[in-house]
Every structure is written in structure tokens, then in C-alpha cells.
């Protein structure tokens, strides 16, 4: 079994084992098995980083064996510089989420932990799949555990949120499926993504395929105006669900643009880049403004996620090295930061059971250690230099300015909004005098929460101070992607 298979199936194996463990009488054992499973799952991804060859755009750690011969589908895995970090990021966030759910989840622990482990394996599968159908299977299969996570352990309005999540994203994916089958037919019976990359397609076909892909990926990213599911879902999802959703699941959509839309329909991608840039700018500016007025912390972070993902898509569709790399760096950074933001809210929610900003005030007085972490993550979310949040945004803004000054200006203005909504929330929640008895009675974070936040803090700082390992890895792949996109596939 190859490294990538190991990275995918280890968490799934542990997840299934946990599901088989029955009910809550073994909760303690279940938690430990989940933790060990998540640790092992993370450890098996480390060789993917250490063994990764720099300076080549080829797929690495490739595995390929026939899967469904009738449709010429193969179990074809591989990572390049674009996808490599997401494998590690997914395994890392999974570990954090297991720690985050440790004593918070008391009902059906084995199903909770099992769902997250399986989900993480499936998401790694999405990033590794080099076969269109295999990609789709992983892409869709992630909906099932997430649906259950939101619906079982979510907030009061969880059922609405679970349905909205499932049906909204399914709607987009079904068009993706049609496009995939169409490409299969067009390419003379192949689901291989790399074959599709070189498949000549005429203009109309490319446009149709581009928009079918867009339907799936834009919903997942989510881009304005199909972002409305995200705030609803984030608010109701349990902390771990929100963290995984923001940190990894949104990236599946953005990754789809890089793996499918741009290389398979490059002419359409260039033709419609203006639309993508416009939608991204609306997300960055308008949704950023929407975030300012939110009263619910989770909603605020959800809208800020939409704005940050706007940076990602903006970076992709200016078609420059800097922009695309910036977009990918922003994806990874946002994975750490948004995950951390939701976990921070989770820590407060576990104690006070409110997500309203107005229920808090002066938390710093009772939870100083916690507030230090919260400050760091807030700064990262606002894009402060030295944190992970800065690197990607900076690269994307630079690329945007190079492409067109006004686009750059629009994108840069978001830094102001980002600082505004994040810091204003920080001020209202953490600073000032103690607002009420709930806050007065708060206990500072325990060792488990400290560990969880510290791991994320290290990641955020490391990436902000020394982003080279991240950018080095993707250089060749991004250059190759752009070279490919610049070529016309019209014949």
C-alpha cells in the first residue's frame, strides 16, 4: 500500500473501528483510540512531506490500479505541489478536532469521533485523487459524515442547517457529475484527470464545462452569491464540525478550480476570468462589510471565511505565479486560522453556551491565557504581518495590483474590513470590564485546550514567519499549471 493510500485509509480504518465499538459505555477507550488513530493518521502523512521532490511538477507518490474496468476508472492517486500540503493540513486539523471534542462530546462519542476520522480520510482522498470519478466519489462521500455531524451534535436549528448543507452542495455536485461523464464520453472513455488536461475542446463545450464545474466548486468555496448556506451551517454545527468545514471542506472547492476548471477548460477560464474576479471582489468587500455587523461570533467568522476565500479565487484568476501561489498559501493559512477561530469560539461556547458577542465582555480578566491565543488568531485573521494570514493575502494583493491597479485596490481594502470586523469583535468580547456573571465565573483553559490552541498557534506563527517550505513546494506545480492554462485547447 502506498503512502497516499495509507494517509486515506488509516483514519477511515480507525473511524470504522470506532463505529463498531457500540455505545457510550466505552467512551474513555473510544476517545483514546480516536486520539491514537488521529495521531497515526497524521504521522503517516509526514513522509509525504519529507519525501516530496522539489523542482518538479510531476505527480508524486503515484498509485494506480484498475478499479471499475467497465468505465475504465482507476484507483489513481498522486500529489503535486498544489495538493501536497492539504493532505498534511487535513490530518493535522483532524487531530486538533479530536482533541477539541475530548470531553465536550458526551453523547455517542464513538460515532462523533468515527465520523471525523472517516471524514478526514475522505477529504485526503479528494486531494489525492487523479481520476475524475474517484475524485467525485470522495468529494460527495464527505457530505454524509458532515451531514450527520451537523445534524446529531449541532445547535438548536441543526436539522435545517444539515439539510441546507447537504442539498445545497449536492445541487452543485450533480452538475459536476454531468460534466465529468461528458468529459468521459468526449475523451473516448477515460476518467483520467491528466488525460482531460490535454483534451482539446471547442469554445462552447469549454464554457459549459467551466460553468458546470463552477456550480459545484463555487458552492463549496463558497463564492458570492451562493455563500448563503455557510453562515447558517457554521452557526449550527458543533465546534469540530465548523472547524473542519472552514479549515478543509471549503478548500475542496478551491482545489477543484486548480485541478479541474483551469486546466481542463483554460480558454473558458481566461474568457470568464473577469466574472470570477468580480465575484471574488464582491466576496472580499461586500461580505467583509456584512461580517462587521454580525452579532453572532460564529456567523462573523463564517462571513470572514467567505471573504478570505474570495482572496483565494481572486488569486487564482489573475493567472500569475504570485496570484495562484498566494491563493494556495491563503488556503492553507485560512485552514489554520479559521479552524483556530472556530475552536476559540468553541472554548467560550462550552463555558457560557452563547455565541452572541453581547453575552461577553472583559473575558481577558478571567481568562488571560486564553485571551492571548485568541488575540494571536484574531491578528492572523486580520492579516497581521508575521502571522499566516498575512502571507497569502499579501501575495494575492501584489498579484492583483500587477494585473490591474483597481482590482488590487479593491482587494487591499479588504485588509481594512478584515481588521475592522475581527478587532472590533475582539474588543467587545475580550476587552473592557467584566460584563456579567457568566464572564466572571469563567475558568481559564485547561491543559487539553492549551495543547490544542498551542499547536495551532505554532502553525500560524511558523507559517507567517517562515513561509518558504510552503511556497517552495508549490512553485514548480504552479508554474506548470499556468503554462498549461496559457495554452489554448481550441482546435
Amino acid at each position: 500500500m502506498g503512502l497516499l493510500s495509507l494517509a486515506i485509509w488509516t483514519p477511515v480504518f480507525f473511524g470504522v473501528t470506532l463505529l463498531a465499538l457500540g455505545r457510550d459505555e466505552h467512551a474513555r477507550a473510544v476517545r483514546w483510540i480516536a486520539l491514537i488513530g488521529a495521531l497515526i493518521s497524521l504521522m503517516v502523512t509526514v513522509p509525504i512531506y519529507t519525501g516530496f521532490q522539489l523542482g518538479t511538477a510531476d505527480m508524486q507518490f503515484v498509485e494506480s490500479s484498475p478499479w471499475i474496468e467497465r468505465f475504465n476508472v482507476s484507483y489513481h492517486l498522486g500529489v503535486d505541489g498544489i495538493s501536497m500540503w492539504f493532505v498534511l493540513l487535513t490530518a493535522f486539523i483532524n487531530l486538533i478536532v479530536v482533541i477539541a471534542g475530548w470531553e465536550v462530546i458526551t453523547k455517542r462519542v464513538n460515532q462523533y469521533m468515527g465520523a471525523f476520522l472517516i471524514l478526514s480520510g475522505l477529504m485526503i482522498g479528494v486531494f489525492c485523487a487523479l481520476d475524475g470519478l474517484l475524485f467525485y466519489v470522495f468529494f460527495e462521500a464527505t457530505l454524509i459524515p458532515m451531514y450527520l455531524i451537523i445534524g446529531i451534535w449541532g445547535g438548536p436549528n441543526r436539522i435545517y442547517a444539515a439539510f441546507k448543507f447537504f442539498l445545497y452542495t449536492l445541487l452543485g455536485s450533480l452538475l459536476l457529475l454531468i460534466a465529468l461523464i461528458f468529459l468521459y464520453t468526449k475523451s473516448g472513455g477515460s476518467f483520467d484527470i491528466e488525460t482531460w488536461h490535454t483534451l482539446p475542446l471547442d469554445g462552447t463545450t469549454q464554457t459549459l464545462i467551466f460553468f458546470a464545474f463552477l456550480a459545484a466548486f463555487a458552492v463549496k468555496v463558497p463564492m458570492w452569491p451562493v455563500h448563503t448556506w455557510l453562515p447558517d451551517v457554521h452557526v449550527e454545527a458543533p465546534t469540530g464540525g465548523s472547524a473542519v468545514l472552514a479549515a478543509i471542506m471549503l478548500k475542496l472547492g478551491a482545489y477543484g478550480f486548480l485541478r479541474f476548471s483551469m486546466p481542463i477548460a483554460p480558454d473558458a477560464a481566461r474568457e470568464w476570468a473577469w466574472l470570477m474576479i468580480a465575484l471574488s471582489l464582491i466576496a472580499v468587500i461586500y461580505v467583509g462589510l456584512v461580517a462587521i455587523v454580525q452579532r453572532d461570533m460564529k456567523k462573523l467568522v463564517a462571513y470572514s471565511s467567505v471573504a478570505h476565500m474570495g482572496f483565494v479565487t481572486l488569486g487564482f484568476f489573475v493567472f500569475s505565479d504570485l496570484g495562484v501561489s498566494g491563493g494556495i498559501v491563503q488556503m492553507i493559512a485560512h485552514g489554520f486560522v479559521s479552524g483556530a477561530m472556530f475552536l476559540v469560539i468553541g472554548v467560550l461556547y462550552d463555558r457560557v453556551h452563547s455565541r452572541e458577542i453581547s453575552s461577553y465582555g472583559g473575558v481577558v480578566n478571567t481568562m488571560p491565557k486564553f485571551t492571548a491565543f485568541a488575540l494571536l488568531f484574531a491578528m492572523a485573521n486580520a492579516g497581521l504581518p508575521g502571522t499566516a494570514g498575512f502571507v497569502g493575502e499579501w501575495m494575492v494583493i501584489l498579484a492583483a495590483v500587477k494585473a490591474n491597479f483597481w482590482i488590487g485596490l479593491g482587494a487591499a481594502s479588504a485588509l481594512i474590513f478584515g481588521a475592522a470586523y475581527t478587532l472590533w469583535m475582539f474588543k467587545r468580547v475580550y476587552l473592557g470590564p467584566i460584563a456579567n456573571d457568566d464572564v466572571k465565573g469563567l475558568k481559564d483553559i485547561n491543559a487539553r485546550e492549551f495543547l490544542m490552541l498551542a499547536l495551532l498557534a505554532i502553525a500560524v506563527l511558523a507559517m507567517g514567519l517562515y513561509p518558504k517550505p510552503f511556497t517552495d513546494v508549490m512553485d514548480s506545480s504552479v508554474a506548470e499549471l499556468l503554462r498549461h492554462v496559457a495554452l489554448s485547447k481550441l482546435n
Binding site: 471499475i68 451531514y147 441543526r158 436539522i159 442539498l167 457529475l177
Partner: protein, 495 residues
């Protein structure tokens, strides 16, 4: 001409018939209220028959018998094998359920199920309009009696009446259509009919006139819009075990006669019947999915879901011949066969769970009865969830690959209208996802209303677990079954 091969082709049918009669007699002396002896004998017979059919299918037997009245080919043998297994599984699930409902005062359940299965065999193996019709009647007559098995239950009797009246009408349609075809071509033999039509000497209008009735009759039996009205009432009214006997294995036989009559017998008319099937498919997808949303009774909901699923089968059937070109027809019909087989597999587990939740004096028929099932039994909730996701077509369940292969057949035609139809179909399956998810929601998100422990005999637990696991595992490795269906159809199209 009757030669030795003729007997081989119908050997399983002979065994089935003999044993059905023997069991009917033996049952008179069975005292046990659970009909253990009858049950064991039935099972043994079915296992034997299933093995024989599998053996026939694997050995690639392709044999006509009794002057081409019957045929034993790969497709037919696999379908017979699957149908036998489906009936066996149904009886395993159904026995405790039937025992609680005084449906086993005699052994009719088993004997009628076997006669029904025999009818399916004849339908599947028939190569002659009358033989096929005879098989169909044997199946439906057994079904009418089965629905009415709870003779003191008004709902069941009402369902049986409805089923009988509408079913008789459908048979009339079919028979009338077949007789028109006979009148036009002068033969009842499926292959000769095809040759006669292909010769082009027969007036097209007469053929189409007969074809309309044949398609209408088939649509009735398949239960597709607008000939679907009996499905919800019969599904709901019949005892659940019988619902499964009607809604499970017979779909395989219905698919077989679709192939025998339309593809083998009337392929030159494909342009005509494909259009008809297209209309039926669109109607079924639309009505089935939309009506299912409004249901509160799970059996009724599944009935409408069946209608929509059959719409998908028809989509596969209607994309075989593209501009008179039959290159991809084996693929298209193979996809339809894969769809039917996986649908039956999923349906078995679904109804198995419904029967499991029903106890003595309590019918678990409302969707709300599923509330909190995950807390009562995570295993059964998981099986049901797998089935629901499979029916909704979410990967990695097997139902996804069924939809995939049908959509592929549709899209490969490359015609804009077909791609439009594919988009319509997936949009309808999005609607479908809603009501399947609702069942999952009840099981996982809601608190249980019923708290009674779920009791089931060991064999039911085992079979149900395997059944559920298969829906998932076949999704992880669907290649084998897909190739099997494709090659079965390919050998039929070639032969």
C-alpha cells in the same frame, strides 16, 4: 422439437414446480406455527435453484429449448439467480413478520412465493410472446393471492382488489398489443418477430399501434407514470413481507420482459419505443420524486421512490439505439440491468428494516416510527442509512454507480436533448435526496418515540447485516457486477 437440451434449459423451473407442489402437500402435515419444515424445504429448494442458475450463467450456457419457446442465456440466468436470492432473502425477513400476523396458518406464503418465482423464471426465460405472457400471469396471480393473504385485514383486501383489477387491465393491454404484433408479423416467436419487422414489409402503423399497447402493459407492470396508480396503494396495503415480494424480485423479471419484448423482439422499432419510454421516464421521475415528499407512510414513500427509480431504468433503456446505431446498446441495457439489480438489493434491506421494526400488533409504517433508531440500534440505523443514501445516489453507495452508468449511457449519445434529460434526471434525484435524507434525519437526529427493544431471529440479523454491507461494499467495488451486467447484455445482443 424437444431434445435433451430443452430439458436442461428448463430444469430449474421443473425443480421449482415440483418442489412447490411437494411443499404444498408437505405443509398439510406441518404442525409448527412457524412452519419450520415448510420454510426449510423452501429454502433448500431455492438455494439449489439459485446455485443451478449461477452455474448456468457462469458456464455461459446459451441454449434455446422447445422449438425456441424458451431460452437460457447469460442475462436470463443471472436474473433468475438474483431473483431466487431476492425471494429467499424476502422469506427470511418475512417469516417472523408473517408469523406475528397470522399469515402462516398455512404454508401459502411459501408456496405462492415459489409459484411467483416460477412465473418470473418463465417470464425471464420466455422466447415467445405467449410463454412470456403465461409467466407474467403466473406471477401476478400469485401476487394477488399473496396481497390478500391477511384475509381479515380490510386494507390488504382493498389493496388486493385494486391490484387485481388494474393488473388484469394491464395484462389485457399487453395481450392486446401482443396479438396486434402477432397479427402483423404472423409469428409469436420473439426472434422471428424481430426479423419480420426488420424486413420492412409490414405496415409501420400497425406495428406502432401494437407497440403502444405493449409498452403500456409493460409500463403498468413496471409501475411507471402514468400507469403507476396501483403502486402506492398496493405497497401500503399489502403486508410488508408481501410488499417486498412484489416490489423486489419481480422488478428483475419486469426488466427481463422489457428486454425480451422491446429489445429482442422489436429492436427495429427502437426509435418509436424509445420516445415512449422517454416520456414515461420523465413523468416517473417528476411524479415519483415530488409525490414522495408528501408521504408520511414509509411504504407509500418507498412506493413513489420506486416509481422514480424505475424512471431511471427507463432512461437506460431508451438510450440504447442512437440514430439507428446499436453499438452502445449493450452498454445502455447493461446499465439498466445494473440499476435494477442494485435497486432490488437495496430495496430488500430497506423493507427488511421495516419488517424488523414491526412487532406483533404494531406496524412500523409511519416514517416517524424511525425516529431515534440510531439510539435503539446503531447497526440497523446504519443499514437503513446506507440504503437511503444508496437510493439517493450518494457515493460510495452502490446506488450512485447505478445512476452513474445510466447517466453515462444517456450522455454518450451526445445529443443535446439527452444531455438535457440527464440534467433533468439529476435535478430530480436532488429532490429525491430530500426525502431519503428525511428518513436519515429521523433515525439520527431525533429522539426515539418507540423504546421497545428490537428483537429479531439470528438469521434475520445476519442476512440483514450482510445485505446492508453489500450495498456499501458493492459501492466500493462495483466493477464486477457492472462487468457482469454489461457482458450478459453484450452476449445477448450478439446472439
Amino acid at each position: 422439437m424437444i431434445d435433451n437440451y430443452s430439458w436442461i434449459t428448463v430444469l430449474p423451473e421443473i425443480i421449482l414446480l415440483t418442489m412447490a407442489c411437494v411443499i404444498a402437500l408437505v405443509d398439510l402435515y406441518v404442525k409448527s406455527p412457524n412452519r419450520t419444515a415448510t420454510y426449510v424445504l423452501t429454502m433448500l429448494t431455492l438455494v439449489l435453484v439459485a446455485f443451478m442458475q449461477a452455474e448456468y450463467a457462469i458456464s455461459g450456457l446459451n441454449q434455446y429449448g422447445f422449438s425456441k419457446m424458451v431460452v437460457s442465456d447469460q442475462m436470463g440466468n443471472w436474473l433468475k439467480c438474483f431473483a431466487t436470492i431476492a425471494v429467499m432473502v424476502t422469506l427470511v425477513y418475512g417469516r417472523p413478520y408473517a408469523g406475528h400476523r397470522e399469515m402462516m396458518r398455512g404454508g401459502e406464503l411459501f408456496v405462492l412465493a415459489m409459484f411467483g418465482l416460477l412465473g418470473m423464471f418463465v417470464m425471464i426465460g420466455g422466447n415467445n410472446f405467449l410463454v412470456i405472457y403465461m409467466g407474467l400471469e403466473l406471477l401476478t396471480l400469485s401476487s394477488y393471492a399473496l396481497v390478500a393473504l391477511r384475509r381479515d385485514n380490510t386494507q390488504a383486501i382493498e389493496a388486493a382488489m385494486k391490484y387485481f383489477v388494474l393488473g388484469a387491465m394491464a395484462s389485457g393491454f399487453l395481450l392486446y398489443g401482443l396479438s396486434m404484433m402477432y397479427g402483423a408479423t404472423g409469428t409469436l416467436d420473439v426472434n422471428e418477430v424481430a426479423q419480420a419487422i426488420a424486413s420492412g414489409r409490414i405496415h409501420h402503423q400497425v406495428l406502432v399501434f401494437g407497440l403502444v399497447f405493449v409498452v403500456a402493459g409493460l409500463a403498468f407492470k413496471l409501475g411507471v407514470v402514468p400507469f403507476h396508480m396501483w403502486i402506492p396503494d398496493v405497497y401500503q396495503g399489502a403486508p410488508t413481507a408481501v410488499t417486498l415480494l412484489i416490489g423486489g424480485a419481480p422488478k428483475l423479471a419486469a426488466f427481463a420482459i422489457l428486454i425480451r419484448l422491446l429489445v429482442e423482439g422489436m429492436l427495429p422499432l427502437a426509435l418509436d419505443w424509445q420516445q415512449m419510454l422517454g416520456v414515461l421516464a420523465v413523468g416517473s421521475l417528476l411524479v415519483g420524486n415530488l409525490a414522495a415528499i408528501a408521504q408520511t407512510n414509509i411504504k407509500r414513500m418507498l412506493a413513489f421512490s420506486t416509481i422514480s427509480q424505475m424512471g431511471f431504468v427507463l432512461l437506460g433503456m431508451m438510450s440504447g439505439v442512437i440514430n439507428g446505431n446499436t453499438i452502445s446498446s449493450a452498454d445502455a441495457y447493461g446499465s439498466a440491468m445494473f440499476y435494477v439489480v442494485t435497486y432490488v438489493l437495496t430495496t430488500l434491506a430497506t423493507f427488511g428494516i421495516i419488517m424488523l421494526l414491526s412487532r406483533k400488533g404494531f406496524e412500523s409504517e409511519e416514517i416517524a416510527d424511525f425516529a431515534g433508531l440510531n439510539q435503539r440500534s446503531p447497526l440497523y440505523a446504519a443499514v437503513m442509512a446506507i440504503c437511503m443514501f444508496s437510493l439517493a445516489g450518494i457515493p460510495p453507495m452502490v446506488g450512485f454507480y447505478a445512476k452513474l452508468s445510466v447517466l453515462q449511457a444517456l450522455i454518450s449519445s451526445g445529443q443535446a436533448s439527452d444531455i438535457g434529460l440527464a440534467v433533468f434526471a439529476v435535478m430530480m434525484s436532488l429532490v429525491g435526496a430530500f426525502y431519503y435524507l428525511r428518513v436519515v434525519k429521523l433515525m439520527y437526529f431525533d429522539a426515539p418515540v418507540q423504546t421497545a427493544a428490537i428483537e429479531a431471529p439470528t438469521e434475520v440479523r445476519i442476512v440483514l447485516s450482510i445485505n446492508g454491507a453489500l450495498v456499501l461494499l458493492l459501492g466500493l467495488a462495483p466493477g464486477g457486477l457492472m462487468t457482469l451486467c454489461a457482458s450478459a447484455l453484450a452476449s445477448m445482443m450478439a446472439g
